[in-house]
Every structure is written in structure tokens, then in C-alpha cells.
């Protein structure tokens, strides 16, 4: 883990008043290597986007460290932060609001190159054409405004913009959840191609487990500001350890049992249904934060917060009863 590109250690992020803070991130540790795509899943409000924003320096941490390529990046500012941003880029969820509606695509990409690279005008033009081609768009599109594109094409522009600075890490925050199924696959396949052809690292935030399974090599599951389970993707889906992960997988509607008996599958899924809803992040829950909804909670879970139980470098879980 020492040569990881991004390494986050025991990160805590609080919002709001000191007395009764919203503990958005609690003791989050995560490492991403070059060329790896790590998925971050969880329900709304669990802290996925806060984690992304903290890595980018848009939120400041209460405690903990973020190390990027050997440099501590928790409290960067000014020039260093700008340098960091050239190496960590973001792709946003909504391809409509994340592009400037009054800027042609060519100018948008040109601006990025002008700020972050030393390329001359002619070279930039060349580079812009290359970028558009790399994301599957016609280089002639440079003179178009965002409103002239479909949702999928806009998301491609967003990806081209992220690639423009030649980053080492791209954080993609729900990049396909606003898209239709048939367009979603087009973008996922583009991301997959980019993964295979470059050694870019990805932090892929999503709530759709099937999408994560398709695109990521490793997954972290978050619940109420904590990472409750981390595992290589196949292991996570075949042997989820944390009861929350198990419930999340069971709850996701999936057509893959298409040849199985539907009703028996449904009954099995209903057994692992979670009761209740995610508590408010300001609530103080003694013991394991998941115990009020956990179907397997015991007395110990109500008293003591579970520590990380490590099985392997990338395989760990925060549950008293994981095995």
C-alpha cells in the first residue's frame, strides 16, 4: 500500500456546529494504485461525494491525512493546489449543469490546456481534436455549444475535459446515473477502454451495484460516513461479509435470475430486507452505526463500535461477526 497513488488515512470530516456536528466522514482509509478503478458505493448521504470533494481539496478535513503520489495533500492551497488539480480531475453526475452553456466545446477544452499546459495554440488545436476522438466524438464538434449535444455526448465532453490535463487520477461522481440504459453502456464501455489503454487511476462513485461490478476492480461500501467493507469486486459480490453489503446486493433489482424461479428468488431477497431508514447524520448511535437496521444485530453491536477486521490487504470489514 506504500506505493499507492492516492492514500487516505483515518480521515474525519465534520460539518456544522462544533457542538453537534454532522460527521460526514469518520475514520475513512482508502488507497488507490495506478491503473486501478476503485468503486465507492452507498446510499445517498453516506459521504461518497464528501470524500471526493475532500480529496480535491474542496472540503477540509478535521483530522487524518491524504497522500497523493508521496506528497501530503490534506492542507494544500494556492499554487500547490492548482498543481494538484492538474493531476486529479473530476467527472460530474449531471452533464447538463457541469458544462458552461455559453462556451463552445473547443473553447472549453482550450481553456483547460491553456491554464495547465505549455502548449502553443496550434498544438492545442491538435490536442483538442485528439481528445474529442479519444472519447468518441467528431473533432468537428469544437464549434458546438453544450445544448447541441445529447446527454451521452455531453458526458463524453466532460470526460474529455477531465482527460485534457493528463491527470493521474479521475474521480467520477455518478457519471452514468443521469443517463438512459442504452447510453449508459456506451459511456461505461468508453470508461473501460480508457482504463485498458492508460494507467489512469479511477475513483468511481456510484449507487448502482451492477455498474460498479462492470467497471471496478475493487469496491468500498460506505454507510453513514464509514467504509464498512472493502473487497475485490468478485469477492464482494460472491461473499459479501458485512450485513449491509448483503442487504444492498439483495435489494438491487436484477434481471440476471432470468432463467431462475422468480418467486423463490424474491422470497430469499425479502429475508434480508433492511428495516427502517438511514438515521440522520447528527444522531449519535452507540455501538455499531448499522445496528438499528441490521437483521443480525446482537447485544455487543449495541454497545461497542466494531473495529476493522482485516482478512487481506484489500479485504476488510467493520463488523463484530464477519467471518
Amino acid at each position: 500500500m506504500d506505493n499507492a497513488l492516492l492514500s487516505i488515512n483515518e480521515l474525519h470530516v465534520h460539518f456544522g456546529p462544533q457542538k453537534r456536528p454532522v460527521r460526514a466522514l469518520r475514520d475513512v482509509s482508502l488507497a488507490i494504485n495506478r491503473g486501478e478503478c476503485v468503486g465507492l458505493v452507498g446510499e445517498s448521504g453516506c459521504g461518497k461525494s464528501t470524500l471526493a470533494r475532500t480529496v480535491l481539496g474542496l472540503e477540509s478535513a478535521q483530522s487524518g491525512t491524504i497522500t497523493f503520489d508521496g506528497h501530503t495533500a490534506t492542507r494544500w492551497s494556492g499554487r500547490n493546489l492548482r498543481k494538484l488539480r492538474a493531476r486529479i480531475q473530476m467527472v460530474f453526475q449531471d452533464p447538463f449543469s457541469s458544462l458552461n452553456p455559453r462556451m463552445k466545446v473547443g473553447r472549453m477544452l482550450d481553456e483547460v490546456l491553456r491554464v495547465h499546459t505549455a502548449l502553443r495554440s496550434a498544438e492545442r488545436k491538435h490536442e483538442i481534436a485528439r481528445l474529442l476522438q479519444a472519447v468518441g466524438l467528431d473533432p468537428a464538434f469544437t464549434s458546438r455549444f453544450p445544448h447541441e449535444f445529447s446527454g451521452g455526448q455531453r458526458q463524453r465532453v466532460g470526460i474529455a475535459r477531465a482527460l485534457a490535463v493528463g491527470p493521474d487520477l479521475i474521480i467520477a461522481d455518478e457519471p452514468v446515473s443521469a443517463l438512459d440504459v442504452s447510453v449508459q453502456v456506451q459511456i461505461l464501455n468508453l470508461l473501460k477502454e480508457l482504463q485498458q489503454n492508460t494507467d489512469l487511476a479511477w475513483l468511481f462513485i456510484a449507487h448502482d451495484l451492477a455498474v460498479v461490478r462492470y467497471i471496478c476492480s475493487r469496491v468500498c461500501v460506505m454507510y453513514m460516513g464509514r467504509i464498512v467493507e472493502s473487497a475485490p469486486v468478485d469477492e464482494l459480490f460472491q461473499h459479501p461479509l458485512h450485513p449491509y453489503t448483503q442487504a444492498l446486493i439483495a435489494a438491487a433489482p436484477d434481471i440476471d435470475g432470468a432463467f431462475d424461479d422468480r418467486s423463490s428468488r424474491r422470497r430469499k431477497a425479502e429475508k434480508t430486507r433492511l428495516k427502517g431508514e438511514v438515521p440522520s447524520p447528527t444522531d449519535v448511535i452507540p455501538g455499531c452505526p448499522f445496528h438499528p437496521r441490521c437483521p443480525k444485530a446482537k447485544a455487543l453491536c449495541r454497545k461497542k463500535e466494531p473495529l476493522i477486521m482485516t482478512f487481506d490487504e484489500y479485504r476488510w470489514c467493520r463488523c463484530h461477526f464477519a467471518e
Binding site: 446510499e43 445517498s44 445529447s150 451521452g152 438512459d180 440504459v181 442504452s182 447510453v183 449508459q184 453502456v185 456506451q186 461505461l188 464501455n189 473501460k192 449507487h207 448502482d208 451495484l209 451492477a210 455498474v211 461490478r213 462492470y214 469486486v233 468478485d234 459480490f237 442487504a247 444492498l248 446486493i249 439483495a250 435489494a251 438491487a252 433489482p253 436484477d254 434481471i255 440476471d256 435470475g257 432470468a258 432463467f259 422468480r262 424474491r266 431477497a269 425479502e270 430486507r273 433492511l274 431508514e277 438511514v278
Partner: protein
């Protein structure tokens, strides 16, 4: 089997600055008694326009229903006078919307909204209506229902608001429940709870029309499914056979392009191109420009929805059957 609602050749257009846009055309679909029928398709394909037309909720202008009929109990809902239609809305046909925050009045407490519905349809005293409403809040699993009767919608979570909507729709024991993307705004674990609740609340003779873009939800909830593409129904059939052996190339491509939870990581096939804009639908089959099987006839002629055994398909590859009605 008996049909509750029979939609025949429905046609809806919208007048826009760029011209008259055909939102749906030639929609022929029946909803059988007691079944859950799924209506699936990508954004803009006309799912919601179809379902809103049943209760004539299409905003007019710009929308206009220009043809067809929707039969319910032998009467055409499209020509029914508004006062009679209002008796049906919310009672014989209930509806659940995607965003419960916009479907509930933000200015009125939950309790009084439910009581209003009761008193509109039945000659109940306020106290009786209140008790009925309270009992339904309890039935749909709202904790501490007596207190929540006094809550405003903003005080409830998304999942709880959707439970209130389900109570409001189901308490009148409707014969048809139209659910338009009821779980799209919710998290996975809450979605599972709401789908379970909808199954539990549905009586044996209640029909459900479930509109969604999620094939997984169709698979878990529905007996039959209608697939829509570019304003038309392209395939209708029982869920299992349709999912296992789709006949229309669009259905097939759509099913193949969904990432799966259970399987490994082979590359998923994509549908090339994108849905054509309603202003520039091709002359022939509307899927022809993206279809891997398209041949000359697909570009020249427009296919009709035809019967293929228990299935209905709009495709020249399966063109021998009778015209569906």
C-alpha cells in the same frame, strides 16, 4: 381474462415552437384484471404520456389527445365529462407519482390531505375519515402514525412520503393503480421496501400499471410488460418469455446492455447511435437506423404491432401475425 382498461390507437401530440411533436402514436394496450403490467422504455419514449392520458392529466396546452379511445368499464375516458372523470380519479383509478414531494400539497398536513380524499369520494364524517386515514398510515408502515397525521410532507423522508402516496392511492381500493416511476427517486434499500409494500397492498383483483425505466424492477414486479420506443409500443408479452427470448431487436439490445450483478465482466454490447428526435423520426421503422437486422423494407415502410402467439411485436422480422387490437 377480463380487461380493466383497454387503450385503442391512442395518439397524443404536443404543440411546441418547433412544430407539432408526436409524443405517442398507435398505442394499443389492455390492462387485465389483477395483473401487474410494466411499461418500460428510455426517457422520452412516451411511457408517462401514455399513463397520464388514462386519467387525462396531460397538460393542455401544449398537449392534445388527437385520437384513439381509452375504455374503462365500457365508457371512453377520453370523452367522459370532467365531473364524472373526477369521480374516477383517485377512486376507481389511483395514481402514484415519481416525486412524492410534488404530488403532495406542501401546505397541508398529511392527515387533512387524506381526509379530503375520503370526504370527496364518500359521505363520511370527518372523524370517520380521520380514523380510516390513520389506519391506512399504519398499514403502510409509517411509524407513529397518529403523530404523523399532523406532519407536513417536508417533515417526512422520501421513503415515508412515498408510503403516504401509496396509502392515499390504495385506501380507496382502486381497480387500477398507475404507478409512474414510484421508486426512481429512492435509494436501493428503500426502493426494495416500497416495492414489497406495493406487492403487499395490492389486492387480488387490483390491476397495476407500473411505469419504469428499470428492467430489474419489471422483472421483480410484473407479470406482463410492454416495451416502448420513440412513442410506440414495440413489444408486449409475459415477462419470463419476453426476457428470455425477446423478439424485437430493441428489446433484445436493451436487455443485453444492462450490467448484471451476478455475472463476470465481459464487454456489454451497445446500441449504436441514439434515440431519434421526435421531429426527425425516420419514415420507416423508428428503430431502423440503430437496428443490426434492418433491411430495405424497414427503411421504407412503417411496421404495425402484430400478434405472435401470446406476444405482440412491431417488427418486419415477425410480420406474419394478425394486427393487434
Amino acid at each position: 381474462m377480463k380487461n380493466v382498461v383497454h387503450i385503442k390507437n391512442l395518439e397524443v401530440v404536443f404543440d411546441t415552437d418547433e412544430g407539432c411533436i408526436e409524443a405517442v402514436r398507435d398505442i394499443t394496450l389492455s390492462i387485465r384484471e389483477g395483473e401487474t403490467l410494466g411499461l418500460v422504455g428510455e426517457s422520452g419514449c412516451g411511457k408517462s404520456v401514455t399513463s397520464m392520458s388514462i386519467l387525462r392529466l396531460i397538460p393542455c396546452p401544449p398537449g392534445r389527445i388527437t385520437g384513439g379511445e381509452i375504455l374503462f368499464d365500457g365508457q371512453d375516458l377520453l370523452t367522459l365529462p370532467i365531473p364524472q372523470l373526477r369521480r374516477i380519479r383517485g377512486q376507481a383509478i389511483g395514481m402514484i407519482f415519481q416525486e412524492p414531494m410534488t404530488a403532495l400539497s406542501p401546505l397541508h398536513r398529511i392527515g387533512s390531505q387524506l381526509v379530503e380524499a375520503w370526504q370527496f369520494h364518500y359521505p363520511l364524517k370527518r372523524r370517520e375519515a380521520w380514523e380510516q386515514s390513520l389506519a391506512w398510515l399504519e398499514k403502510v408502515g409509517i411509524p407513529d402514525p397518529a403523530q404523523q397525521m399532523y406532519a407536513y410532507p417536508y417533515q417526512l423522508s422520501g421513503g415515508m412520503r412515498q408510503r403516504v402516496m401509496i396509502a392515499a392511492a390504495m385506501m380507496m381500493a382502486p381497480r387500477l393503480l398507475i404507478a409512474d416511476e414510484p421508486t426512481t427517486a429512492l435509494d436501493v434499500t428503500i426502493q426494495a421496501q416500497i416495492l414489497d409494500l406495493m406487492r403487499a397492498m395490492k389486492k387480488a383483483d387490483t390491476s397495476v400499471l407500473l411505469i419504469t425505466h428499470d428492467m430489474g424492477v419489471i422483472w421483480e414486479m410484473c407479470e406482463r410488460v410492454a416495451v416502448m420506443y420513440a412513442g410506440e409500443i414495440v413489444e408486449v408479452g409475459d415477462v419470463e418469455p419476453l426476457f428470455n427470448t425477446p423478439l424485437h431487436p430493441y428489446t433484445e439490445a436493451l436487455l443485453q446492455s444492462i450490467p448484471s450483478l451476478a455475472e463476470g465482466r465481459g464487454r456489454l454490447p451497445t446500441i449504436k447511435g441514439q434515440v431519434p428526435s421526435p421531429l426527425e423520426y425516420p419514415a420507416g421503422c423508428r428503430f431502423s437506423s440503430r437496428c443490426p437486422h434492418a433491411f430495405d423494407r424497414c427503411l421504407a415502410e412503417h411496421p404495425t404491432l402484430k400478434k405472435q402467439g401470446a406476444r405482440q411485436v412491431r417488427c418486419f422480422l415477425h410480420d406474419e401475425g394478425e394486427v393487434a387490437s
